[in-house]
Symmetry: C2
Subunit: 340 residues, 2 copies
Amino acid sequence: MSRTVGCIGGGQLGRMLALAAAPLGVRFRFLDPSLDACAGDVGELLVGPYDDPGLLDRLADGADAVTYEFENVQVEAARRVGAAPDARALERGQDRLVEKELFRSLGIPTARYGSLEDTGLPALVKSRRFGYDGKGQRIAETLVVLGDDELAEEIVPFDRELSIVAARGRGGETVFYPLAENEHRGGILAVSRAPAPDARQGEAERIATKLLDALGYVGVLAVELFEVAGTLLANEFAPRVHNTGHWTIDGAVTSQFENHVRAVLGLPLGSTEALGESVMLNLVGHAPPVERLLAVPGAHVHLYGKAPRPGRKLGHVTLVDADEARIADVAALASSAWQS
Amino acid sequence: MSRTVGCIGGGQLGRMLALAAAPLGVRFRFLDPSLDACAGDVGELLVGPYDDPGLLDRLADGADAVTYEFENVQVEAARRVGAAPDARALERGQDRLVEKELFRSLGIPTARYGSLEDTGLPALVKSRRFGYDGKGQRIAETLVVLGDDELAEEIVPFDRELSIVAARGRGGETVFYPLAENEHRGGILAVSRAPAPDARQGEAERIATKLLDALGYVGVLAVELFEVAGTLLANEFAPRVHNTGHWTIDGAVTSQFENHVRAVLGLPLGSTEALGESVMLNLVGHAPPVERLLAVPGAHVHLYGKAPRPGRKLGHVTLVDADEARIADVAALASSAWQS
């Protein structure tokens, strides 16, 4: 009685989903334009455009559920395969303006947004669509004219960046991981620590719950938050497993990947309890020699099998309840990758 | 810089090796006579006899290491591919008489063995070769004549069955997991608990060390032990990852599977520290519905993707630091599988 899940996208998130699914007797099948898609190492790979109707039908054929691993999947493609999370989540998340207005309509606080008159100066100007990892962003110092596809956002003097990863099952039941505290470098996530100390967990869960329920959501969702003077502002949500939840593989009873698989298949969700204090460090650009990473006691190394390229996420390392010296050892190795 | 490991055998042990290897950027390639070999879900599968020279050469072609996942691999096959662990471990382990004499030559205590005159009556009569999970065993009540391929073993009034799983790296460094306490049912492992309370860890490590060093061993090795009146007798060793070490996936910092991969590739070994008190229960015969297993909080479910068959190991469940009620819930589900 083996189950199959189809997944639009075959990157590292798909790969980690398949690795979490295998012990449940669940196989993954991926659709990705790249023959080298790294999820192909651990599942069946259909190679072609994400929106190819014939391939989408093959992806869904005999599958017990179809999901996706990136937020720029075409809404029509997700509809065609009856994806979980529902295509609505993509629709609302793909346009930053629609996303912010969803937050507003649900009473979820955000930074000011709209025109530069709305935000004041200086402000961040972002593409409304297809931005990620800080791409498509610039700072406006003067009242320039924005394009139709652009949105201004207030530059928030936040105290820290947090994120909450949540899962909602087919019956509407929800679970929440402890908040993670995140540091970015050049717009790319560098480090997450979880559980974030002294964080407003209840407030974050209320924000996530509003979104999950409004979207009739099934699967894992992440919300990026700014903590400003003790309150939380929602920045954006991602309708998928999230880089700031990678610590859960080694640092929580059930990983975000396993809970996503459980959710889309209608299986009971697993405990999100943290096993200790986790630090997750991204390996970006090129990965340090694996033997040096593995030589750090307690380092859990995750490489994605991707070719090196500046700015590309190639892997991550998680430490649980490690002392600062070991964290510093991994951080030094990870930093060497970013700089080269 | 992705690495590849070849593996003779594509059963659940190979499958779990590949799942542990993927995060290190390591791919597995398997050789198995069955098209349905369950490791084929998570790696490349060459289908054919274990001793086919052409397939063995393909298995080893471009691989950074070749290993095996069962102890009845032909010694010549292991030699041909330069396997780790070395073929010597197979040679000594495949014949129960040779194995016992290795123990004796190393000063490792065992039950009495040899002829029925050596052991006294009643005694266990075992095939010298190709027995596993209690197959090929009978009890002799009278002085019957043994075949050349048979060996008598004293029936030891042991207090409990224990096992130690150890790993030795290419440089001779060794690590040891805490002893597990094991219960068998009909000759098949049913439950392991680790760390075994009040166990003679140091004595077990000395036994394992003698074996590892004598065999110039590289990889994970398990030694099954009887505890009798406070001392340990070696029963047999297995030159591979071991069912009594499955708890390490969820219950130790580094799993036995990851440490085997690290060892055969010459990478640093990982911490064997236990995260808590683990209970591992085998699913044998047919697996209970996965949703019922997953509904038990904290249950880590591992299904191997194998078709049900009486007496066949189909999966296992591990609980870490769980209360007895939850363990009983899983045990009841697991038992229903054995009986049907």
